[in-house]
Symmetry: C2
Subunit: 218 residues, 2 copies
């Protein structure tokens, strides 16, 4: 059963003017009808990239003939998941990943030092922790189902973001970016990550929640 | 456990130019970077009302000091829910509601003749089935938790939408609008409806899924 009390919200809050990937459209969240101005209702308008805040990437993001968001199987975002705490302060690297032995079909959420800050309220942080190219290829070889990260991209700002995305997406992996994992200890969970269903889109904003599995740490 | 196979997606698909409430911002979903034009990635931008497609209304929509979307308890959208099939082709009226005996804390999803069409692909349909003012007040008196409807508003186009929204929202009821219930028979379900978490917002687009309770129809 979906009891509400134990769910942990791992989504960041969307806000007008919030941090976004450099070069992507800015985030504008504005009141276009306001009761304080005499309107009968308040009405908010959203204007932002589909890759804002907590969001998912579809294969179409980097593969021209890849699946788009409305084709995503719900199982990409719903099911058991493992939170892995990454100790490396610079990257999610191959050696550290190997120690965690990713399994086929796993949903892996990587908690890094990115989660030590409320990054969603700050400026863009170019030195965030992201996957290495080798780590991305390894996750694809391991045939994991889903990869989640705690900043705006699986690929670093100074690294080869295209190669990293393509390695995952060509491997059939669905990607969750922009998670807030600061309240999630390492362990096994139930994950529900539901992105907006957007026709033809390369990504979509999402809401994501976690619940520890009983017993935790299995 | 969150097994994926039994979940029914009751969200409509967001599309560029899709139907929206008259007077609200139009729905623009556009590619701002395109691989076919030589970019390294595809990138979609969203520009739309927060009340587009399947979405939730926060109290702030019609109550100036009401809670906004980021304050929504997850339990408003997650938990048991009952799908009620409404026979009246004109409104969700008081007499028919009384026969279904709404209970305190229930999440009620009303399937009407709106669901007989793929309304999300058509023009705005001004004669859609919506709550009557009396029915809205009755649901508030019954202290239901959440009300879901299968078109863009709980209030009709020719009726008193303000009174209907306010009766529900002042009663502490969270509202889901724009559901696709055409594959959901009457009965009891688990509901997961996760709206985007938007600071200060009067509403938010959402993804919603249903799973029949075992045994169904209890």
């Amino acid at each position: 059963m979906i009891a509400d009390l134990k769910w942990l919200d791992i989504s960041v809050t969307l806000q007008d003017g919030m941090v976004h990937w450099p070069g992507d459209p800015a985030v504008h969240i504005t009141l276009v009808q306001a009761m304080k101005d005499g309107c009968c209702a308040n009405l908010t308008q959203l204007n932002m990239s589909a890759h804002t805040g907590t969001h998912m990437d579809a294969p179409r993001h980097y593969l021209q003939s890849g699946a788009s968001m409305e084709q995503m199987p719900l199982s990409a975002g719903m099911g058991t998941a493992r939170v892995i705490v990454i100790e490396d302060a610079h990257e999610i690297g191959l050696a550290e990943l190997i120690r965690h032995a990713p399994q086929p079909g796993e949903r892996l959420l990587f908690r890094t030092r990115n989660s030590d800050t409320n990054w969603e309220n700050g400026e863009f942080m170019p030195d965030f922790v992201a996957l290495s190219v080798a780590a991305a290829h390894y996750l694809a070889e391991c045939k994991v189902r889903t990869v989640g990260v705690d900043y705006l991209s699986v690929g670093g700002f100074h690294s080869d973001g295209t190669a990293i995305h393509r390695a995952l997406l060509e491997g059939g992996i669905w990607i969750i970016e922009g998670l807030n994992l600061r309240q999630a200890p390492a362990g096994n969970y139930e994950l529900i990550c539901l992105p907006l269903k957007i026709m033809g889109a390369d990504g979509a904003p999402a809401r994501a929640v976690l619940r520890p599995l009983e017993p935790q740490g299995v």
